[in-house]
């Protein structure tokens, strides 16, 4: 398969690009909800429009009422989200949770997928424990209790949890913290007793929660997949989330680069456009080169994931690491080349810097994934 968008995908890119630039624009969404201290961190009206556009159920199988599309298509929407810094639960709900629910029994799928597709429900995933992404270690415990389980432990960086109707929780049902096996995934409803949620606003104005489970009682039918067999599903969720956030990172990088190049064409100093100075031209050209390479790595990873290739795992980590490095470069260069006004809240470039910082930590940063590339390569 060639490494560029086919005709349908190119059309989707046009549609999603137009939609996000109009409806998901920074002034209309990110600034609007930030300045009003919106408790959800995103606009529900926009999320309904996501559903009308058919985005919410993109990854859901057709027999479950979705569009049965792949990660290439989802990545197109995510790249536009990144370019416009559009706050939404698309990545957590429509990508990572949808991936988890694809492995759930009919009962859970019927319960949650219609709301996911219609946009009436929002979902989150609770994986991280501690401030760094280390999904190899899962300490949150779910102990057998009657016909169900009792969930105890603490999860961090649960993005979009405050508005979520259900949270997918990775917990340990056997073995010890670092064991590969013994993981089970649970669909935990938002009103579960003895679950305490502490939502905090992050640097990029998104909201993530610390969640404490203090013996939360769950029915056996809250189990997604098999008891003790959750690692394989978790790995699928991780790959989906990683390639998805890598695509969003490409969007952030492009958005920041476009703003910056535009500024270089307009700003005058010393009687010249600053874009005439070779010192800045070369840095901008280097950034362009990195962004192009990153797009290629991301689409390669998306295609491998859609083809269910065994190479997808490695390439997903390559894509996430590369995307994190490139987006960081784009926002750093962006702020520096904007000069003083790059430090003001009035200009958008700083918002890109903030979003990039948060996105880097989501599903593992560049160091985590470069290390993974080394391990998967045998060193």
């Amino acid at each position: 398969m060639p490494l560029y968008h086919d005709e349908d995908q190119a059309m989707l890119a046009d549609t999603a690009g137009q939609f996000m630039a109009d409806e998901g624009a920074i002034a209309k969404q990110l600034r609007h909800f930030r300045d009003r201290d919106c408790p959800d961190g995103f606009g529900n009206a926009l999320w309904s429009q996501f559903a009308e556009m058919g985005f919410t159920g993109m990854l859901v199988a057709e027999e479950d009422g979705g569009l049965g599309m792949g990660h290439v298509e989802a990545g197109i929407v995510l790249e536009e989200i990144g370019r416009n810094l559009t706050p939404s639960p698309f990545l957590t709900s429509s990508i990572v949770t949808a991936t988890a629910l694809a492995s759930a029994d009919a009962n859970l799928r019927e319960r949650y997928l219609p709301g996911l597709i219609s946009g009436e429900s929002v979902f989150a995933v609770a994986i991280d424990e501690g401030a760094k992404h280390r999904p190899e270690r899962i300490g949150t415990k779910a102990e057998r209790s009657g016909n169900g389980f009792k969930l105890s432990g603490k999860k961090d960086f649960v993005v979009q949890a405050v508005a979520a109707d259900m949270i997918v929780v990775a917990a340990r049902t056997s073995g010890s913290d670092a064991d590969e096996d013994g993981i089970t995934l649970f669909a935990v409803p938002k009103d579960a007793a003895k679950m305490d949620q502490d939502p905090v606003r992050l640097v990029d104005s998104s909201i993530a929660s610390h969640i404490t489970f203090d013996g939360v009682e769950l029915d056996g039918d809250a189990v997604i997949g098999e008891v003790d067999g959750g690692r394989a599903i978790l790995n699928k969720m991780l790959m989906a989330g990683r390639v998805g956030s890598a695509a969003e990172g490409v969007g952030v990088a492009r958005g920041a680069m476009d703003l910056t190049v535009e500024y270089l064409r307009q700003r005058k100093q010393f009687g010249k456009l600053i874009g005439q100075f070779q010192a800045l031209q070369h840095r901008a050209a280097h950034l362009y080169s990195e962004v192009e390479i990153t797009r290629a790595a991301v689409i390669k990873a998306q295609q491998l994931l859609d083809a269910d290739s065994e190479k997808a795992d490695l390439m997903t980590s390559v894509a996430k690491a590369k995307s994190a490095k490139t987006a960081a470069l784009a926002v750093r260069e962006g702020v520096q080349m904007h000069g003083g006004i790059g430090m003001t809240d009035e200009y958008d470039i700083g918002l890109y810097m903030k979003r990039d910082r948060a996105l880097q930590e989501f599903m593992g940063d560049a160091n985590y994934h470069a290390n993974r590339v080394a391990e998967l390569s045998g060193y």
């Binding site: 060639p2 560029y4 190049v261 005439q276 390479i293 290629a296 790595a297 590339v373 080394a374």
Partner: protein, 400 residues
């Protein structure tokens, strides 16, 4: 998405053909200089296997698989050519013939040549009969190539050429040269002609240049009243394109050279080096330093991402989707990556990799190759020139 039945059957055919015809020795990486077969009048094969592999490919048109069959190629379409490349990579098959004729003059003739030139020169190239070299740079004209001054005086049916070229790759081994020659001193861009002539027709001398690597892949080439005929026969001019419009051909070719050099970073098989470096270090009784391991990991991320870029770029070129200036980006990123690769290989190799002519290092390969890569970002347009082109032609930044 599955390949069409037609392509799938081509893949199967190709696989069986390679299995039957590519000798096992030709499935090992080319290590020594003589492992690369360049063709030419005075050529010698390094082994029977090299000869057999070349001949069987020549007869099938696989020295230049995408060229039309009339010109010595196999007439493969882009999808078929990609499949052949993939299948050759799969078994590690060496290119049967390497030549500047294939990489550079060929594409120029396909684009600008007359039918007579194509019939004559392309067939010679495809059959490995003539080895070409390229005369572009001059001592005073490197990055600013268009300032070149080697002059051809019009003598009616021929030019007499005087001047000097530099960095002519393998000029001392070449049979013919494609050469930029000034034919109008009053017109900078439209006063250059892209000439084709015999290196042994008189008036041409070459002198190898010894590089920091100790090797001499490049020469200085001197023209002292060298005679260049305006025609080699019916419909076969001694120049490509129009007289005084050689710069158009040169610019087109520089694009090809940049693609070629950007490809020098290696395909998918050789992109990541971390695992290999761990083995090297272990062989010398050590283990990877954690910081070196981290650098290797970051390198492998970049190298694997660049591999994907190479694949995407070729896919886009095939359907005309690539930005015309994109080869500059590929060249810039690919050569910088290759320099970094060799820095890391030197680090991993430690004191062993310093050895200049020991048997253990195959005569100082690590250090000589490392030094050679420093030219990657100079030849074919420096990294700085590439960045200039990207910033102006792709990003639309204003001229100084």
């Amino acid at each position: 998405m599955s390949e069409t039945a037609e392509l799938e059957s081509f893949r199967q055919e190709t696989r069986s053909w390679l299995e039957a015809n590519c000798p096992p020795e030709m499935r090992q990486p080319a290590i020594e200089e003589e492992d690369v077969f360049w063709g030419g009048r005075n050529t010698e094969f390094a082994s029977d296997a090299q000869k057999a592999w070349f001949e069987v490919c020549r007869d099938k048109g696989y020295t230049v698989p995408a060229w039309p069959t009339d010109y010595g190629g196999a007439g493969l379409n882009p999808e078929q050519a990609k499949i052949l490349r993939q299948e050759m990579n799969q078994i590690g098959a060496r290119p049967p013939l390497s030549s500047f004729g294939i990489w550079m003059l060929g594409p120029a003739l396909l684009q600008f040549g007359t039918e007579g030139q194509k019939q004559h020169f392309l067939n010679e190239i495809a059959r490995g009969e003539v080895r070409w070299c390229q005369g572009y740079s001059e001592p005073g004209s490197g990055s600013d190539l268009v300032s070149m001054q080697t002059f051809g005086e019009d003598k009616g049916d021929h030019w007499t050429v005087n001047g000097q070229k530099i960095w002519t790759s393998y000029a001392d081994k070449a049979d013919w040269i494609f050469c930029l020659v000034r034919t109008d001193k009053g017109n900078k861009y439209q006063g250059i002609t892209f000439m084709l002539f015999d290196m042994h027709g008189g008036g041409v001398t070459t002198k190898p240049i010894k590089l920091i690597s100790g090797n001499s892949p490049f020469c200085e080439t001197f023209f002292d009243d060298a005679i260049v005929p305006k025609s080699y026969g019916d419909d076969c001019p001694g120049y490509v394109g129009e007289i005084n419009r050689g710069w158009d051909v040169a610019k087109y070719l520089l694009g090809h050279e940049r693609e070629m050099i950007s490809g020098a970073g290696g395909g998918d098989r050789t992109a990541a080096i971390g695992a290999l470096m761990k083995l090297h270090v272990a062989k010398e009784g050590g283990e990877l330093d954690p910081l070196l391991r981290a650098e290797l990991a970051m390198f492998d991320v970049d190298a694997l991402a660049y591999s994907a870029m190479g694949e995407k770029f070729l896919d886009e070129v095939k359907v005309g989707k690539a930005h015309p200036a994109q080869p500059n980006m590929m060249k810039y990123a690919g050569t910088e990556l290759n320099k970094r690769r060799h820095e890391l290989m030197m680090s991993a190799g430690g004191s062993r990799s310093l050895e200049w002519d020991s048997d253990e290092t195959g005569g100082g390969k690590p250090s000589r190759n490392w030094l050679r890569t420093k030219a990657n970002s100079i030849e074919g347009g420096t990294s700085e020139v590439m960045l200039n082109v990207i910033s102006k032609r792709i990003l639309g930044l204003p001229d100084a």
